[in-house]
Symmetry: C2
Subunit: 150 residues, 2 copies
DNA sequence: TTTAATGCAAAAGATTTGCAACATG
DNA sequence: CATGTTGCAAATCTTTTGCATTAAA
């Protein structure tokens, strides 16, 4: 689930330019936290990001991870995905994509489909508010959990 | 957001038959908790269900509400929808439908579209696990929040 | 140097659990 | 009657906050 280096560095560059534009300070911890989410495709939760970043910055604190993750969300650089009964997970994949989510363990994977990207929504939806993104969520049971249930 | 009575009673009957089949006891609180979720279209969280059911059964406890809600989920009678940073909300609408979710306040509404119900998924998805349901999630900002932001 | 960001510790929220009393099948 | 379920209170787990210290611009 490793994203290739070029893609990661592009994402980090994008992050840095957004911060400059918004007047947000580029701290060591912010960069590493962002990089961590950007370089993995497995939608980590705050705790996982914390543990991994700690390898590089042993003094980071969990609350900084939380603060940064929500900051990234506000900047539109990361999307929180809430698979209930699970902690919030974060996704730094900004290209249009869709999710498969295991209802019993929370396992989440991206998938792509240009057909799904171009879905036409009924007019009724517009009346609820302003639309930002549309994505398809497939609920199911992942292979690991399917085995356990037997 | 009131569901019509006939539909509610049908849902409750369905719930009761599922419980009998599974050998699960039909307690007063379970029935009222299920009815509460079934009769509203606004995807309440556990706390809201608790408050409303308390009107009818003053002694219910919040933990029973939680236990029942997750039981209902395991029985497939209710679907948890996790709009992160918000508590888990529950949806008893079992007919195929889709969601509009406000990213800033969690406001959630159902919408229908037979086009969306018949979406074709790419083969890759099948490799992640067994598919149970597919639904479209539209993220946006609801009208109330859009006003606040100005 | 000015202001925002961090780390710490403590608080707040949400959800879960152990257990004795109780209700359902 | 036997067993599963409830309510209570306490525990746990996740996330947030206040504040003094530190680091970016």
């Amino acid at each position: 689930m490793k994203i290739n280096n070029k893609e990661i560095e592009e994402r980090v560059k994008h992050f840095e330019s957004v911060c400059r534009r918004e007047g947000i300070k580029l701290t060591h911890q912010r960069i590493e936290i962002f990089r961590e989410v950007a370089q993995t495709g497995d939608h980590p939760d705050a705790e996982q990001v914390f543990t991994r970043v700690k390898g590089r910055i042993p003094t980071v604190s969990l609350d900084t991870v939380y603060r940064t993750l929500w900051l990234l969300k506000d900047l539109g650089l990361v999307v929180p995905i809430g698979s209930s009964r699970e902690r919030t997970r974060f996704d730094a994949n900004l290209s249009t994509h869709h999710h498969f989510v295991c209802g019993s363990c929370g396992f989440t994977r991206d998938f792509y489909s240009s057909d799904l990207d171009n879905i036409q929504l009924p007019d009724a939806v517009t009346s609820f508010g302003q639309i930002e993104a549309t994505h398809v969520e497939v609920r199911g049971v992942c292979q690991k959990c399917a085995k356990k249930q037997k």
